[in-house]
């Protein structure tokens, strides 16, 4: 049973956004980490890079395959989770705690197009 956290926003490509003020923490869901298996590498953008909703911003890689990361929101990267550079497996330990990038949101209305916890729960059951 995959963990889902109330109050976060979810995308169909299994990223989450945790909003704090004008910032959003973006990572992959517990469901996604489980589907991937052992994460061995996270390809992250750099601070100050612009990201756009619906566009790739990096990749999470398991032993077997690379999975593109699709950004659910637009904005500027203000921080990347450097701990993942040395220990990508942290995502398997706790995907929600180990977000990948922190974005200064340029358009908070984009959040309306994402799923809430209940909708995402129904989505992954399909």
């Amino acid at each position: 049973m995959s963990k889902i956290i109330e109050g976060l926003y979810y995308s169909e490509s299994h990223e989450f956004v945790k909003v704090e003020g004008d910032f959003g923490y973006v990572g992959i869901t517990d469901y996604a980490q489980h589907e991937l298996g052992n994460v061995v590498y996270v390809d992250m953008p750099e601070v100050d890079d612009e990201v756009e909703a619906g566009e790739d911003f990096g990749a999470v890689e398991s032993v077997k395959a690379a999975s593109d990361l699709v950004c659910p929101v637009s904005g500027t990267v203000v921080e990347v989770n450097e701990a993942l550079e040395d220990e990508p497996g942290l995502i398997n330990k706790d995907a929600f705690e180990n977000w990948i990038i922190k974005v200064q949101l340029s358009d908070k209305s984009e959040l309306d197009g994402l799923m809430d916890a209940a909708a995402y729960k129904a989505f992954i059951k399909e």
């Binding site: 298996g37 052992n38 061995v40 590498y41 390809d43 790739d56 990096g58 990749a59 890689e61 398991s62 032993v63 077997k64 395959a65 690379a66 593109d68 550079e85």
Partner: protein, 364 residues
């Protein structure tokens, strides 16, 4: 899913909770506990694989030896009964039809083990060539189940769990064993770079043995770690390192192509490539970064111009580096050459290295 075939162990994989995926026309287990755990079990202890998807072709008849030697690159006339050789079947232009094992069962009696994805193609190819020879070709792929017991504890496991004493088998030899009335083949072979055995038997016997091994606590291993294990020790996978476009000479497996024996299909093309140098070469690559090269990614020279592509790549498991095997223009094939791998939007520096990243530990 319905168009994929299943092996005789399929229900057991599902019951064990394996992640299943199509491979070579079969619905196969990719992993059970996880690729890393399974990989390490084989390197450090023992693991068991379902390889029942592999194809088996039996060639007999007065001209069986002459025929097999004509379609195969290695020299089977050098083999005794009980011996096994690895080699390839080639097209006249040197491209690879398949790589395979040939077991010498008796005089003019050979057992060919071929790749699952190539069964139909190979059987058609073999039959086409057989028209000019007095031989009988039988595709027995559906009669045999096959498991591989691999790892440094394989010999002990075969004895203690399956009551099969294999201490008399040397590397690349086999014996036929009567097991509860079933004639099976046990060989000291594998595809992991570790010591190990492969058993070919009826579906019933394979199912019984699988159950005994799992019950004894042997780690079930999927095709995921089969690929990481074979890749690290430089063993090729048909479709990646050997294809209709890649000859064994380009791939660096000239050792298995005996140019000094009688005529065989592809001999002339291989002799020419060996004499003049093949246009492309299979090389090892080590990346300077943690980014992971994957099958199909472009390999470039220092000016970012494409000079080849990755055939297999991983974040190594026994080797803590991002490593790949790539097919590149021969001019870029020398050890130490600086190349780049195009991964998503960036170009990552890499160096040409030997394509055997981890040493094999066979018992010879």
């Amino acid at each position: 899913m319905s168009e994929n075939k299943v092996t005789c162990l399929h229900d057991k994989h599902v019951a064990l909770g394996a992640l299943m995926s199509p491979f070579g026309g079969f619905d196969m287990p990719i992993q059970y506990a996880g690729i890393v755990e399974e990989h390490n079990a084989v390197r450090n202890a023992v693991g068991v694989f379902d390889v029942s998807h592999m194809g088996e072709v039996h060639v007999t008849g007065p001209e069986a030896q002459k025929f097999v030697n004509y379609i195969f690159t290695n020299d089977i006339t050098k083999m005794q009964v009980g011996g096994i050789q690895y080699g390839m079947m080639l097209y006249p232009d040197g491209g690879t039809v398949d790589d395979l094992l040939v077991y010498t069962m008796g005089e003019n009696d050979y057992f060919l083990v071929i790749n699952a994805a190539n069964i139909d193609k190979d059987v058609a190819w073999i039959n086409e060539q057989a028209a000019k020879f007095d031989v009988k070709v039988e595709n027995q792929s559906e009669s045999y189940g096959q498991i591989a017991v691999q790892g440094p504890e394989a010999e002990k496991t075969m004895l203690e769990v399956l009551s099969l004493d294999c201490s008399d088998l040397t590397f690349y030899t086999f014996k036929c064993v009567n097991y509860n009335g079933d004639n099976m083949i046990v060989s000291r072979t594998g595809y992991t770079g570790e010591d190990g055995f492969e058993i070919y038997a009826s579906h019933k016997t394979i199912q019984d043995m699988w159950d005994m091994l799992i019950e004894a606590g042997v780690q079930p291993c999927g095709l995921g770690c089969r690929d990481t294990l074979r890749f690290e020790v430089g063993l090729p996978l048909y479709g990646d390192e050997l294809t209709a476009e890649i000859s064994p000479i380009m791939a660096g497996f000239g050792f298995f192509v005996k140019l000094d024996k009688d005529d065989f299909i592809g001999k002339e093309a291989c002799a020419k490539q060996k004499a003049e140098g093949a246009p492309k070469k299979l090389v090892g690559l080590e990346l300077h970064d943690k980014a992971i090269p994957r099958h199909g990614y472009e390999v470039c020279n220092e000016n970012n111009e494409p000079v080849g592509y990755v055939t297999t790549g991983y974040r190594g498991i026994s080797v803590d580096k991002s490593i790949a095997v790539a097919l590149v223009d021969a001019a870029y094939g020398k050890l130490g050459t600086a190349l780049k791998v195009h991964i998503r939007k960036k170009y990552f520096d890499a160096t040409v290295v030997k394509k055997k990243f981890h040493d094999k530990s066979y018992k010879k």
